[in-house]
């Protein structure tokens, strides 16, 4: 049985009284992340160092507590929402940059460091950290690692996994494993590749070694307005078909453009049905040629307006428009549900039209802002929770959108993760054998099953071969946790 009091005393002794919270307000605050799911926390602890993280995990092991890691709490899928009396380990005090070594193109950082702060620290070195989720001002590197975060520039540069060389991972028994290496390859299976994107379910990252990328010498950013969504999407396809892979290729529909413009005043064309934000980067002459090819593709598809950023300030303004989309939609309605699905790029338009149809049927306002180059859609459902019946309609629309994307050959999530919110959809894309194999991977890291349980995999998924070896108490622990999920917490 979990012993919260004993765990609190031990942690206060090890980390100091100020590092442990157990008052009702704190427990309520840390009972959810940026998803719509609310859970409940047992204890909240703020480690200040890698040793502290080990102490947290050991205390949790001794006192039979589940462990839920949390960075900035900006996760959208509920991976940091605790269930039952879990110990929430918040990394927000671990924000140091431990080392920057440009000669090795790497930096070691603590998990709580904000993504953007690393970028700022690298200014002037000629190198940068490429992954740029829209939340980068407040989301932590540890959280980015946990969700394998994306961002506009992942089209050309790859998602977080491509930018993580090594991780120090505290496993459920309190041992620390360095997965990956500072060098390009490591001995053993690519555990690093599994830890990235595992949503805190295999261990806690206490330090991350990230890959630095040379800053492109030249950048051009263009904003294009189109009279129809179809023309905009066709431009995306034409750019790719022309053998050009821009650094970023972002599409926004009229609803979101109008909201953003009223908020950010970035000069977006509010009369266009859809806009495309395109960035090409690299060597000056290549960038020139690429920008020309992009413009040609747009003209062939009846582009209405093209605006190119003439200065660094103007570029920043254009990006502000894109990256403040989620702040801007508060003007539409007080609550929103943000989706994250990936579809084959060639099916973008049909899926987008399908999304509009679903939301029209359910009477839900939907706007779209997404990574068009990746086929990564982010329909934003806006609503007011106080409207009677609206939650049911949002829930129904969401499920239909997921099914629509899966039926189009897509994936459940491109960059936000599965967490609690989508785990029951996993059987839509994976067979029982697939899920059992994934459960094996998870239990190979964490035989105790206490690391962020009930996330990612649906309830039935078990690693058969390990089920035999697991003790009876483990099995009953899982059953208890199943009963602990609060009813009606979805959305």
């Amino acid at each position: 049985m979990p012993d919260l009091d004993a765990a609190r005393r031990e942690l206060e002794e090890a980390l100091g009284a100020g590092a442990v919270l157990s008052d009702p307000l704190a427990l309520r605050l840390y009972a959810r992340d940026a998803s719509m799911v609310e859970g409940s926390a047992g204890l909240v602890v703020f480690p200040g160092s890698a040793d502290d993280v080990v102490a947290c995990v050991r205390a949790a092991a001794r006192h039979h507590l589940d462990v839920v890691p949390r960075g900035s709490g900006t996760g959208l899928a509920g991976a940091s929402t605790p269930i039952g009396d879990a110990l929430v380990v918040v990394t927000s005090k671990m924000t140091r940059i431990l080392e920057i070594r440009t000669e090795d193109r790497l930096a070691w950082v603590e998990p709580g460091l904000f993504n953007l702060d690393l970028g700022t620290a690298l200014r002037g070195t000629g190198f940068t950290y490429m992954p740029d989720p829209s939340s980068q001002q407040v989301s932590s590197i540890g959280g980015n690692v946990a969700t394998n975060a994306g961002g506009p520039h992942c089209l050309a540069y790859g998602v977080t996994s491509a930018h993580v060389l090594a991780l120090d991972v505290v496993l459920s028994d309190g041992t620390v494993a360095r997965v990956g290496a500072e060098g390009p390859e490591a001995a053993g299976y690519d555990l690093r590749g599994v830890v990235v994107g595992s949503e805190g379910t295999v261990g806690l990252v206490s330090a991350a070694c990230v890959r630095l990328t040379p800053e492109p010498p030249s950048i051009r950013t263009m904003l294009m307005g189109f009279a129809t969504v179809e023309d905009c999407a066709a431009t995306v396809s034409a750019i790719i078909a022309g053998g050009v892979v821009p650094a970023a290729l972002e599409m926004m529909d009229q609803g979101i453009v109008r909201a953003v413009e009223a908020f950010a005043h970035a000069g977006y064309p509010t009369d266009a049905a859809a806009v495309l934000l395109v960035e090409v980067d690299g060597i000056a002459s290549g960038v020139e040629a690429e920008a020309h090819a992009v413009e040609e593709a747009a003209r062939t598809n009846r582009v209405g307006s093209i605006r190119e950023a003439e200065s660094a300030e103007e570029r920043a303004l254009l990006w502000k428009g894109r990256k403040s989309a989620f702040g801007a939609i508060a003007q539409i309605a007080p609550h929103y549900h943000l989706h994250d699905c990936v579809v084959p790029r060639t099916r973008l338009v049909e899926v987008l039209i399908g999304v509009y149809d679903i939301c029209r049927r359910e009477g839900i306002t939907v706007t779209n802002v997404f990574h068009a180059g990746d086929g990564n859609l982010h329909p934003l459902l806006s609503f007011d929770r106080s409207d009677p019946g609206v939650l049911e309609r949002v829930l129904r629309s969401s499920e239909e959108i997921v099914r629509l994307c899966v039926d189009a050959g897509g994936s459940l999530s491109g960059e936000h993760g599965i967490g609690l919110e989508k785990r029951d959809f996993m059987p839509l894309v994976f067979s029982d054998d697939d899920l059992a194999a994934q459960a094996c991977v998870r239990s190979a890291f964490d035989p105790s099953g206490r690391m962020n349980p009930r996330k990612v995999l649906p309830d039935g998924a078990r690693c058969g071969d390990f089920a035999v070896a697991a003790s009876a108490t483990d099995a009953s622990g899982v059953a208890d946790a199943a009963a602990a999920i609060p009813e009606g917490t979805w959305i």
Binding site: L171, V179, G183, A187, L191, G193, G197, P344, S411, E415
Partner: protein, 349 residues
């Protein structure tokens, strides 16, 4: 030795299931070009994958190709070339896609193209006991579930048989050029790396620095000018790719992987090598797998790296494997009967 050449995924499932039931040890082979990598191991049976060589789906607009794992690299190159694209992994024409992934081959162009592991987005793996497991998604991005394909990439056939993969592909560059400077050595390599924007490869050897450039024609010209400014006299190698480990002469070739700044310390005293500047891979040629290899590995261990042999005898070396218990549990889950190339992998797995 028994040889099985399955003609379908189902036959792979049957072969591995029955091998597991009988305790028949199995080595999975593709084009037999990479079999030297790994520790020596004894098997009773070979499972040759090269009949599984169909294209399952390829639409250039998706920038993904889904193929069966036994497809030869040369065939894949031709098919993608017709779509104006390539899989940016440099391997021999006769190698198979699955084999190249199973050994996580490092390409000379890794500086710009990234590691092979980041190109594999979906995989179907048949485990040692004959379960078919799919992971990832047929989209360029996906974070749904645990990435079993990451574990199988570089697993040397010890977790299962890769039967199908979806790989990210990219447009062929409009222009390509490989050039060679007249001065060699790591310092010369570093000079070129610092001076040339975004090269695909800067490969230092004791005699020269080879530079691979690709992109728009005007871009390649701009880069060429930068190489000339940094290195003086250069020779342009027409119609030639940049050489990989095959260009190293030794009968034994070790693939060193260290943080890039450690290359000097590791290559001290060696005479036959090719080093990927900015990456930290060096292919080192040795006369045999004796004391010279041991000495190289001692320096590499000091630098925190690894040096598996990829040509000739010598195995993977004895670098420590982190979280060995996790590895053992993974192996037990995916190959419960322990029939897949027992002992070939790191940590005696």
């Amino acid at each position: 030795m028994d040889l099985i050449e399955p003609g379908s995924k189902l036959e792979v499932v049957d072969a591995l299931r029955s091998s597991s039931e009988r305790g028949t040890r199995v080595s999975i082979v593709g084009g037999r070009t990479h079999l030297d990598k790994g520790n020596p191991c004894r098997v009773d049976r070979e499972l040759a994958m090269s009949k599984l060589d169909r294209v399952i789906a390829y639409d250039p607009a998706e920038m993904l190709a889904v193929v069966e794992a036994g497809m030869r690299i040369g065939d894949l190159r031709r098919i993608l070339g017709e779509g104006g694209q390539e899989w940016p992994v440099d391997a021999a024409d006769g190698a198979t896609v699955g084999g190249t992934i199973a050994i996580a081959s490092s390409s000379p162009r890794r500086l710009r193209m990234g590691p092979l592991r980041d190109t594999v987005v979906e995989m179907e793996l048949v485990t040692g006991d004959g379960r078919s497991v799919r992971s990832g998604a047929r989209t360029v991005k996906s974070v749904a579930g645990y990435d079993v394909h990451r574990l199988a990439t570089g697993s040397l056939g010890t977790l299962g048989a890769i039967v199908q993969v979806a790989v990210k592909v990219q447009p062929l560059p409009k222009a390509r050029r490989v050039m060679r400077t007249s001065e060699g050595g790591l310092l010369a390599g570093r000079t070129v790396l610092a001076a040339v924007p975004l090269p695909s490869a800067v490969v230092a050897t004791p005699e020269h620095v080879e530079v691979a450039l690709e992109g728009w024609p005007e871009e390649v010209e701009e880069q060429t000018a930068a190489v000339v400014r940094a290195a003086g006299e250069v020779e342009i190698l027409e119609d030639q790719g940049v050489g990989g480990p095959e260009a190293v002469a030794g009968t034994t070739v070790a693939e060193v992987a260290v943080a890039p700044s450690k290359l000097e310390a590791v290559l001290e005293g060696e005479a036959d090598w090719r080093a990927l500047m900015g990456v930290g891979i060096a292919w080192v040629g040795l006369p045999d797998a004796g004391d010279r290899l041991s000495a190289l590995r001692a320096r590499v261990a000091e630098a925190g790296g690894i040096a598996p042999v990829i040509r000739g005898p010598g195995g993977l070396g004895d670098a420590p494997v982190p979280a060995l218990e996790v590895h053992r549990r993974l192996k037990a889950a995916f190959d419960p009967a322990g029939i897949l190339a027992p002992g070939r992998f790191w940590g005696g797995l």
